[in-house]
């Protein structure tokens, strides 16, 4: 190579280098140059979810054994992110874009609290917001330059920026990154980094429309929410202390503990109010009833283990099967064939078995309910066996007789969860209807069938049936149901109670063609805000506990762990007898 050529080559290289330098300076100056951060494999969980969409706060408290995390200083909690030395980046907060809600993107805002330990040195750095694609290629970058000759030391202050991303073509595989890039020798600490994607409403931000008249009207659609709420008002009970009932002479107390309740008329008294048989581990522990004229609960303790049956799938029933004016307690035997009858003996204040007889349902009882026939003083039982055959059971002369009433095969199938409810749901003072609820396990589809029972003909006639293609939360067999005449018209209504995702109690009535959700039932009159629905464990029963014409809800409210601001308690809440009230 000639000397001239070498000189030219050298000059050319020099020129190229100079161009490169100018280009780098240009990029730096116009904020296009950004520190390249690696693909981040770790993930920092947001310290909490925000009440605002696409808003995340990172306080670095849940990160362990990370060199970027320091316990020397913290704006909140005990840890912060430390950036040590020049040309270093902080721990990178990275969030897949698909985790944000896509609507109303347009801008992003990001901020952090920053701490500079005392040191007489200028501070410079960049607070960076980036959007990278799946290959970590930067699609968008916004840098907030931070430069101070003599920054305040030993104090936390806030840095923030806003990025205009409306022109960025965002894809679900993109990732959003926020980090700090340190351009000075001093250490910098970051905490409580906030990242928000999307626009937020501002007053005056949108054009106003002059709407001088109300243009909104609500059209209630039957059986679609929202429903009107009816409030059951708390009864004054003077002998309740938390979950204990005290006798008025102070000699006795009953600590209410139980996992189930059966309501019925177990003790003959003058009040004509239903009583509550409290069960614990399927054994009776007490009979409790409310005396409205005295505003107190009466109770009888039952100490003996009397229910010998190991049958736990079917809750004992209360039914006056012998027509003596008080209810007996019916338990299904271990083999699902025998029926045991227990009764309260007022003389020794004990519950004793008075009968154990076969139901003559050879295939075993799967579902059983009390059944009331028109103008019949004593009550029958309606049972469905494991093949779907329905039987009417009567207790006559010490033995059970049964009559075949047809088939309800859905109740017998193994992939159906089912529940049976009885009551005169259509007509006043009529023989009970049978409401049969079932749910297909595979699809979660719910169905109901409502039957009229023709005892003379020995058959049951389906008068209504419906399926719920979508989710059903009211007529589902998973709920607990109570039957009572809430509005005093002689026709029973249904109370559906769920305590799964939330407390949910609904008042449902039936017509000869359809069902109608009348409304929600909530509570009022409780002390402070001790609404029974707020308790983690709520045992609840509904019935005529304060009189024949009043429908009431008995509540036993407990929490998993004692909470001083939500003390455990017992309550009785009554609904007024008329809807219009």
């Amino acid at each position: 190579m000639h000397k001239k050529q070498r000189i030219f080559l050298f000059l050319g290289l020099l020129f190229a280098l100079a161009l490169l330098c100018i280009y780098i300076v240009y990029l730096w100056k116009y904020k296009v140059f950004i520190p390249k951060t690696p693909v981040v494999h770790y993930r920092i969980a947001a310290s909490d979810s925000m009440s605002y969409a696409n808003t995340y706060c990172y306080n670095f408290e849940n990160i362990k054994n990370n060199k970027h995390i320091s316990t020397e200083y913290a704006f909140s909690g005990k840890q912060s992110a430390k950036v040590s030395g020049k040309n270093r980046y902080s721990i990178i907060i990275q969030k897949p874009f698909k985790e944000f809600k896509y609507d109303s993107m347009g801008e992003a805002r990001f901020g952090a609290w920053v701490y500079l330990p005392a040191k007489d040195e200028k501070w410079s750095g960049k607070f960076v917001f980036q959007i990278v694609n799946a290959n970590n290629k930067v699609k968008y970058s916004h840098l907030v330059p931070i430069q101070k000759e003599s920054p305040m030391a030993n104090t936390w202050f806030y840095i923030s920026g806003k990025a205009d991303i409306k022109d960025v073509e965002l894809e679900a595989t993109d990732r959003v990154k926020v980090f700090y890039w340190n351009n000075c020798n001093r250490d910098v600490y970051l905490d409580d980094v906030v990242m928000i994607l999307g626009n937020q409403h501002l007053k005056g931000n949108k054009p106003m429309v002059d709407e001088t008249l109300k243009n909104y009207s609500f059209h209630a659609v039957p059986n679609q929410p929202p429903y009107e709420t009816f409030y059951a008002k708390k009864e004054l009970a003077v002998n309740v202390k938390n979950t204990s009932l005290l006798s008025t002479d102070g000699t006795k107390s009953l600590a209410l503990e139980g996992d189930n309740v059966v309501s019925g008329y177990f003790v003959s008294n003058n009040t004509k109010t239903q009583q509550l048989l409290i069960l614990k581990l399927q054994q009776p522990t007490a009979i409790v009833w409310f005396v409205p004229e005295k505003n107190l609960f009466s109770f009888i303790k039952i100490d003996d283990t009397v229910f010998s049956s190991e049958q736990k799938e079917i809750t004992p029933l209360a039914a006056d099967v012998n027509g003596d004016g008080v209810d007996e307690i019916i338990c299904v035997g271990e083999d699902a064939k025998d029926l045991e009858i227990f009764a309260f003996n007022p003389r020794n204040q004990k519950i004793a078995r008075i009968s154990k007889e076969s139901s003559h349902i050879e295939k075993g009882i799967k579902l059983i309910q009390t059944f009331h026939q028109k103008s019949n003083k004593k009550q029958s039982l309606l049972a469905i066996d494991k093949t779907g055959e329905a039987f009417l059971l009567d207790f006559e002369k010490g033995v059970w007789t049964n009559r075949f009433l047809g088939y309800l095969t859905e109740g017998a199938q193994i992939n159906y969860e089912s529940k049976m409810i009885t009551g005169n749901l259509i007509q006043a003072d009529a023989t009970d209807n049978v409401l049969f609820l079932y749910k297909e396990g595979r699809t979660n589809r719910c169905f109901y069938k409502l039957f009229e029972v023709d005892i003379e003909q020995g058959k049951s006639i389906c008068i209504q049936q419906r399926n719920f293609d979508n989710k059903c939360d009211t007529l589902t067999p998973e709920n607990t149901y109570f039957v009572g005449d809430l509005d005093g018209n002689g026709i029973k209504e249904l109370i559906s109670y769920s305590n799964a995702w939330r407390y949910d109690m609904k008042w449902i009535c039936f017509t000869d063609k359809d069902y109608r959700i009348v409304g929600n039932i909530d509570f009022k009159g409780y002390d402070k805000d001790y609404n029974p629905k707020y308790y983690e464990n709520l045992m609840l029963s509904a019935g005529n506990f304060t009189g024949n014409k009043t429908f009431s809800v008995f509540t036993l409210c407990k929490n998993r762990n004692a909470k001083t601001d939500l003390p455990e308690n017992v309550g009785l809440y009554s609904l007024s007898t008329s809807i219009s009230e």
């Binding site: 805002r109 937020q200 609404n531 707020y534």
Partner: protein, 644 residues
């Protein structure tokens, strides 16, 4: 030594400038050829004495005032004029006729006649409310022949203060002078008498634009006060000027019991007549005399809320934080009521006059199942003013219950533009211009003028929050875990607990993002008022409003029988005050023309109880959609409105 000399020179020059610049106060300029004395204004109006001060006080007469106020009205003096007089002595040696003219100017809300440190006219002095004879074609008035007899001769005449005193065409509509569009300002008035020798007119020494105030000079008005007291007129020979400052105090204190006018444009009288009452209706009497109208909110149609389907009396039902959290957490989407904070749907049902007390009563209507109401209600004054000290005595609904839970209402006392037509345009924004419409985004085209203006007290439950950008404070979001109370029953952040009983008094000036003020800025900036410091916040460069927030006890403002709120809107500053009594007010907000453009157009006063979208108020702990619908009416009373 040299530096000391320079300093002295500077001091000397400064003193000269100060002496030569405008001086405020009573001015009297004497002429040699004649003498004028005993200039008495308002001789047919009683003097009002307060302490050691004497002034003449006049309350605006609202009767038939819908087309504009006159001061005095026909009912206040015998002929609807103030009488004035002066005496003049002719020293010229021959009988003379003199020419005189009386000017008046509002002194409470004016720009100084001279620019700061200058003898030139203040660029905004022409905006001052000044006038003269109602007939602007009338120049100086000739006196009778005054003999040169060494005696003072009395000259009498009449004057009254009216709207649009310069008869500007801007305030005309179809050849009719709409004097109500430039009503007289409230506060004190001065009267300036100018008496001139005949020569000044024969030789046209007094310019046409001074003798006829409706005329312009170089395409702008010249304030005659400036002209005669500081400008060329002050050097003019043969002119006698006397300026009685603070001679008259004018106060607007409408009788609220007169009634509320229902605008037929809001509610068709044919359809809604059945709702009218004696004191709230659409009729001629109320049209002419009612000081208030029913206010119909502008509703942002896009501001829909998915509201929880709960009807509760938050104030009375012992509604707790647990209730709030439960209802916020455990409702399904399909159960929510999609509605928007709306307006009333018929006239005179939610506002009326309590004829016993004379108070105006407004109420946000209760909701019933299926009739879900979050209705904003309010009243608006019907006569606008530019500037003024607006004081209201009100008993508005409480906002928080004893548990510190908010009922969703924003109590608002605010001024809003009297009209969005060009006659009500604000002063031009010379720097980039205004974002002229109330609603709009950052990309709206800017314009040199806007007629939209608003100055607010908005009192609601939100946080004292002044960020650079929109960073809502972080709250834990409840998790719908039925079996763990602590998961869904999320407490307020600790930082908010101390403010449980407080609501935020938010003071806002909608300057429509005119960046002309020297310290116009974005984010949070301190504003000093005396020894108080307020943090003024603007969301963005294009954001049209500047807000300051002060936490105040809800009980203090709304649990008492009444409370006072005051907006003092001056040409260069706005001061927000509150207090239990009118003489016990404290400042809760302050802005000046260094940081925001102070509107100079005419505005109306609105008092309202509104349901706002809390998305506007980032960080509000109780989002509007999780606040129940009101079970009972929420009452507000307006006892007194005063503009001074």
């Amino acid at each position: 030594m040299m530096r000391f000399n320079s300093y002295k020179i500077l001091l000397f020059v400064g003193a000269l400038l100060a002496l030569s610049s405008c001086q405020q106060g009573t001015k009297t300029k004497q002429s040699l050829d004649f003498e004028v004395k005993d200039f008495k204004t308002l001789t047919n109006w009683n003097t009002f004495v307060t302490g050691d001060k004497t002034s003449k006080l006049l309350y605006l007469d609202y009767q038939d005032a819908i087309n504009g106020f006159t001061i005095p009205s026909i009912r206040q003096t015998a002929d609807g004029n103030f009488d004035f007089e002066f005496t003049i002595k002719n020293n010229s040696g021959s009988t003379q006729q003199y020419y005189y003219k009386i000017y008046y100017q509002n002194e409470s809300y004016k720009f100084p006649e001279c620019a700061v440190g200058s003898t030139k006219e203040h660029p905004y002095a022409q905006e001052n409310f000044y006038g003269s004879w109602a007939d602007t074609t009338l120049s100086f008035v000739e006196t009778a022949a005054i003999p040169s007899d060494g005696k003072f001769h009395t000259v009498k005449n009449k004057i009254r203060i009216i709207g649009n005193p310069r008869n500007e065409k801007r305030y005309y509509y179809k050849e009719e002078n709409q004097r109500w569009t430039r009503n007289p300002r409230m506060g004190t008035y001065s009267f300036m008498l100018v008496v001139s020798a005949a020569d000044n007119f024969k030789n046209t020494k007094v310019p046409d634009y001074i003798s006829h105030i409706q005329r312009k000079h170089n395409d702008r008005f010249v304030n005659p006060y400036y002209y005669f007291l500081y400008g060329e007129g002050s050097k003019m020979k043969g002119v006698f000027v006397v300026n009685n400052v603070h001679d008259l105090q004018v106060i607007a204190k409408p009788n609220l019991a007169t009634g509320i006018y229902s605008n037929p444009q809001d509610f068709d009288p044919k359809q809604y007549q059945k709702y009218y009452t004696k004191t709230c209706a659409f009729n001629e009497n109320l049209y002419l005399n009612a000081p208030l109208g029913q206010f119909i909110n502008n509703v942002n149609a896009s501001g829909k809320l998915d509201n929880i389907p709960v009807i509760a009396d938050v104030l009375q039902d012992n509604y707790s934080m647990r209730d709030f959290n439960w209802n916020r957490t455990f409702y399904k989407k399909e159960e929510l009521i999609t509605t928007q904070p709306n307006t009333v749907d018929c006239p005179c049902q939610q506002v009326d006059v309590d004829t016993v007390s004379g108070n105006v009563v407004m109420r946000n209507a209760a909701s019933h199942y299926g009739d879900w109401n979050k209705q904003s209600v309010g009243v608006i004054t019907r006569q606008g003013f530019a500037y003024g000290k607006y004081t209201v005595k009100v008993k508005l609904t409480e906002l928080l219950n004893k548990n510190g839970i908010w009922n969703g209402i924003t109590n608002a006392i605010w001024l809003v533009t009297n009209g969005t037509e060009p006659w009500n345009d604000c002063r031009e924004c010379r720097s980039k211009g205004y974002l002229s419409k109330y609603g709009g985004g950052s990309n709206d085209k800017r314009s040199r003028t806007t007629s939209y203006s608003e100055i607010d007290f908005e009192i609601l439950k939100t946080v004292d929050y002044c960020p650079l950008y929109q960073f809502p404070p972080a709250y834990y979001y409840p998790v719908a875990d039925r079996r763990q109370t602590s998961m869904w029953n999320v407490p307020l952040p600790k930082s908010m607990l101390q403010d449980t009983g407080n609501v935020m008094v938010c003071c806002t000036n909608w300057d429509m993002a005119c960046p002309q003020p020297a310290q116009y800025d974005v984010g949070c900036q301190p504003v000093q008022y005396g020894n108080q410091s307020f943090m003024a916040h603007r969301w963005d460069y294009w954001y049209r409003a500047l807000t300051e927030r002060t936490p105040v006890s809800d009980d203090e403002m709304f649990a008492a029988d009444y409370y006072y709120f005051q907006i003092e809107w001056k040409p260069t500053e706005i001061i927000w005050r509150i207090g239990p009594e009118k003489d016990k007010l404290r400042v809760v907000g302050y802005m000046n023309d260094e940081i925001t453009s102070i509107p100079n157009n005419q505005m109306l006063l609105v008092i309202s109880q509104e349901f706002h979208n809390t998305d506007w108020w980032h960080g509000s702990p109780f989002e509007q959609q999780f606040v129940p619908f009101p079970k009972n009416d929420l009452l507000g009373k307006i006892m007194e409105i005063t503009v001074e």
